[in-house]
């Protein structure tokens, strides 16, 4: 837009701010500080750490607004810590807005991550009035503090000591003394006490707490799993499927209720023979999960072609096992549910059912890209880590030439979704600048990403981006206000626009990756 004249300093600054922010938000969609196929965890942590510091230092308000941008929980947690640790020189009005955003975002985080954010206050030696108020407000908003006290006892104890909290009822003495206190009126606390002596009481506790005690009492794994099943969250039940099968226990588990990408990961983790035998059931579960994701975040697409990368590198890393492939697979099901005219091209081409595919072979993006363009869809989605090598750079060239010479009017929108954060590039690796690239962690975020793509495309500037972030922040604050109006314990009836039916599940899914 500034092609024919030199931009004024203000315009240039706006442009730089726009690009900086896009890089940041984009990184926050994909990066979790974990190892990737092409780079190790340390590189990842350093790169994302730099981005956070840079954006916080230069664009503090926008940085806080990013809490509502639909970025992943790892980065939301990181923003919260950064904001709380660097609280100085923020004026009064700004501090009030920031405080409200922090409280709202914290309440929406899965509890393990929220507690970890608060625990970071102690590690980073932050103990000011605002920080203590935020801790208090968070704990006030918890549905069942007694349950938290059992499940996150160590974190809660550290927090109580650090922020000089006066915890309600027996919670205070429970976190301090645990099972050594003789008597508790709260049934859960009493169960925790008894579980140190009696194997029966173990089954009244949350699974993660019970597991350690069961191991100490040498309870048979199969017996334990079958009896504790009622206390397991959905994610825990999903995660222990395989180990339960090995131990010889049967765990009831509703596949279709699992979040889509999580389910894809689960399916890909199954042995091929199991996948083949159970194909119909797994396929139906994926479809149902995709439909449910769309109910929560509606999306309707016209004609779509997806190019899905299942090359060797989609195996991910030890920490993010098969995630790139799972994202591709989940995108496939989500798009299928959102469009009546969708085509899917895997590369390398696989024969057989998509759920039977595994990561293997080279990355040839050029051939499926040409195939996709030949169909002239309204939207062309590429899910790939961006490392094309057969031949290298060919898809980039094709996309560039196509944009410039064959489709300057953008009849076909092309979007590259990248499940991998490339540490050395401070963002997801692009195929070519002609194709906007967005980081993605869960395929369910597709509606958010498609909305965000307009900013990456260069069609909208920093003002529009800021307005968009403000609107999202207002929505987040609204949700938080409604939740508080209903009083503690209202999280279970959260409004539909907030995804994640079970926050604990989601949190643990993410934890399970590390």
């Amino acid at each position: 837009m500034h092609a024919d004249r030199t931009p004024t300093p203000a315009e240039a600054a706006a442009r730089v701010a726009h690009e900086d922010l896009l890089i940041f938000i984009n990184a926050c969609f994909a990066c979790t500080g974990q190892r990737e196929f092409y780079s190790d965890g340390h590189q990842q942590t350093v790169a994302i750490g730099f981005l956070h510091e840079y954006i916080r230092g230069n664009y503090r308000r926008l940085y806080a607004l990013c809490l509502a941008a639909g970025i992943n929980d790892y980065n939301r947690g990181r923003i919260l810590v950064e904001l709380l640790v660097h609280a100085g020189d923020v004026d009064r009005a700004a501090r009030r807005e920031e405080g409200a955003l922090i409280a709202a975002a914290l309440a929406e985080l899965p509890p393990p991550r929220a507690y970890r954010v608060l625990a970071a206050l102690r590690v980073r030696r932050v103990n000011n009035r605002r920080a203590r108020a935020i801790v208090r407000e968070y704990l006030d908003g918890r549905r069942d503090l007694a349950f938290d006290a059992v499940k996150y006892r160590g974190k809660l104890r550290a927090l109580a000591r650090h922020a000089h909290l006066r915890l309600p009822g027996e919670v205070g003495s429970f976190v301090a003394q645990g099972w050594k206190q003789r008597r508790y009126a709260t049934p859960l606390f009493d169960a925790f006490r008894r579980a140190h002596h009696s194997a029966e009481a173990i089954y009244e506790l949350p699974y993660t707490v019970a597991e350690g005690l069961a191991a100490r009492m040498k309870i048979d794994r199969a017996v334990f799993l079958e009896r504790i099943a009622g206390k397991m969250t959905r994610a825990e039940r999903m995660r222990t499927q395989e180990s339960a099968r090995r131990a010889g226990a049967a765990l009831e588990f509703d596949l279709a209720a699992a979040p889509l990408t999580r389910l894809a990961l689960h399916v890909l983790g199954l042995p091929e023979a199991t996948r083949r035998a159970d194909l119909e059931r797994l396929d139906a579960a994926m479809r149902a999960s995709a439909r449910r994701a769309l109910e929560r975040a509606p999306l309707r697409l016209g004609s779509v072609v997806c190019v899905l990368d299942r090359s060797s590198s989609s195996a991910g890393s030890e920490e993010k096992r098969r995630r790139p492939l799972a994202v591709a697979l989940a995108t496939r099901y989500l798009v299928e549910a959102a469009s009546d005219d969708a085509t899917f091209l895997f590369t390398p081409e696989g024969d057989g059912h998509p759920l039977l595919l595994g990561p293997s072979g080279q990355t040839d993006l050029a051939t499926p890209l040409l195939g996709a363009l030949g169909r002239g869809p309204e939207l062309l989605l590429i899910v790939s880590d961006g490392w094309e090598n057969d031949p290298p750079g060919a898809a980039a060239r094709i996309a560039r030439l196509y944009r410039r010479h064959l489709d300057p009017g953008r009849r076909t929108a092309i979007l590259h979704l990248n499940p991998v954060f490339e540490a050395t590039e401070l963002g997801p690796k692009a195929i070519d600048p002609a194709i906007p690239t967005l980081g993605v962690r869960d395929a369910e975020d597709l509606p958010t990403l498609l909305a965000f793509a307009r900013f990456v495309d260069g069609a909208l500037g920093i003002d529009a981006l800021e307005a968009n972030l403000e609107a999202r922040a207002a929505a987040m604050l609204g949700r938080h206000a409604r939740r508080r109006a209903r009083g503690p314990g209202a999280d279970d009836a959260r409004p539909a626009e907030v995804d994640e039916a079970d926050p604990v599940d989601e949190a643990e899914d993410r934890e399970a990756d590390r």
């Binding site: 196929f37 030949g374 057969d390 060919a394 060239r397 030439l401």
Partner: protein, 383 residues
């Protein structure tokens, strides 16, 4: 079938190069084979001894010449004479023959040895290296007075060379880890800073997949070590010169780009494809022959040595090459000149067109000073 003793370069035949994958300074070019017969398979046996001694000449248990080195593994070849695919993979071989308990020194009989009727084992790369080390190993054939008594009595023994394990090459491990193996891939060309470090071909895509990571255990020339620290390889992609009018133009461009990879590969492999090679057959098994080759060892050019299992029709079922460093090539070349001149220093210096003192100096620099008497070295000013 009789294979030729001399060829001009390696003919990669039906091995089709695919576009390369670059990571850091390493470029890996996959070699694909569309039609795999499967009547020859390779299997790896890890040797766990720190040092392995291989009897090369003489009695099996009391060799007159031995090859001593760190040898990480041996390859076992299984084959079927009538072209049927090999069924049982390394079934009953196991620890009975080698491997087993870790030892400090392990003794093996010969570089290539029959294990049973349908199997033989050989030591990859060591076979080619031994071929190179034993060049003129006997030492002077005429007892010229310049040579030390030791040289006349024992020849060049011990003759030693240094090689670089793949694990020491900067970035090779990462490059192998992130390399995406093609389904039809049977081989790979490894280039470091766009210099050919070696070519490896296995008989079957499954063998390749199994042995891909073992490329890290291979040896490479010392040039490769230094090149690994240099600049990343060139970007070979070229922008098209014409403006595409349709998707068909883009398709044609892609096809042309793929075709261009064959030429790129030929260019990279020029040091192996365009030089005269001398071959020696080591072991015969049905339609297959285990052979090794030496390049022309011209110190002014890339020098490669290697070994191959060649089918009767000349196709490579197995191939592994090793790039000699310039100093290594120079040593072999000097020995070759000496041997040509019946080990006479005067005749050799004259043939090379250099003064006798310079030849002595060169020999000393190449590490062959021990062949000459001290006063001969002194005469050339070498201490």
């Amino acid at each position: 079938m009789k294979h030729p003793a001399r060829t001009h370069g390696l003919d990669l035949g039906d091995l089709e190069p695919a576009p390369s994958q670059v990571f850091g300074a390493i470029r890996l070019i996959p070699l694909l084979r569309r039609r795999v017969l499967g009547d020859l398979r390779l299997d790896r046996r890890r040797l766990r001894a720190a040092i392995t001694v291989v009897g090369v000449d003489g009695d099996a248990d009391d060799p007159t010449t031995a090859y001593v080195g760190f040898i990480p593994h041996a390859l076992v070849v299984s084959w079927e004479p009538d072209g049927r695919p090999v069924a049982a993979q390394g079934a009953h071989l196991g620890a009975r023959h080698f491997g087993g308990k870790a030892r400090h020194v392990q003794l093996l009989h010969r570089m290539a040895k029959r294990v049973d009727r349908r199997r033989f084992r050989f030591l990859p790369q060591e076979l080619a290296l031994e071929g190179y080390l034993q060049l003129h190993f006997g030492g002077p054939t005429v007892a010229w007075s310049e040579y030390s008594a030791e040289a006349l009595r024992r020849g060049l023994s011990p003759r030693a060379e240094r090689v670089i394990p793949g694990a020491s090459i900067d970035g090779l491990e990462d490059a192998l880890r992130v390399f995406e193996i093609h389904p039809d891939q049977v081989g790979v060309m490894i280039l470091v800073a766009d210099v050919l470090a070696g070519v490896t071909v296995f008989p079957h895509p499954e063998d390749y997949r199994a042995l891909h990571r073992a490329l890290l255990l291979d040896f490479y020339g010392d040039v490769v070590l230094r090149y690994g620290l240099y600049h990343p390889p060139a970007d070979l992609a070229s922008e098209p010169t014409t403006i595409p009018r349709s998707l068909d133009d883009l398709r044609a461009g892609l096809a042309a780009e793929r075709a261009a990879w064959r030429d790129h590969t030929r260019l990279f492999a020029a040091g192996l494809v365009d030089v005269p090679l001398r071959w020696q057959s080591v072991h015969h098994a049905g339609p297959f022959t285990l052979r090794r080759f030496l390049g022309d060892l011209d110190p002014g050019r890339e020098s490669h040595i290697g070994e191959a299992i060649v089918r009767d029709d000349g196709t490579f079922e197995y191939l592994k090459t090793f790039r000699l460093g310039a100093a290594q090539a120079r040593r072999a070349w000097l020995l070759g000149r000496l041997a040509e001149g019946s080990w006479s220093l005067d005749a050799c210096a004259e043939a090379m067109g250099i003064p006798r003192a310079e030849l002595i100096e060169r020999l000393a620099h190449a590490g062959f000073g021990y062949l000459l008497k001290p006063h001969v070295l002194g005469e050339a000013g070498v201490r």
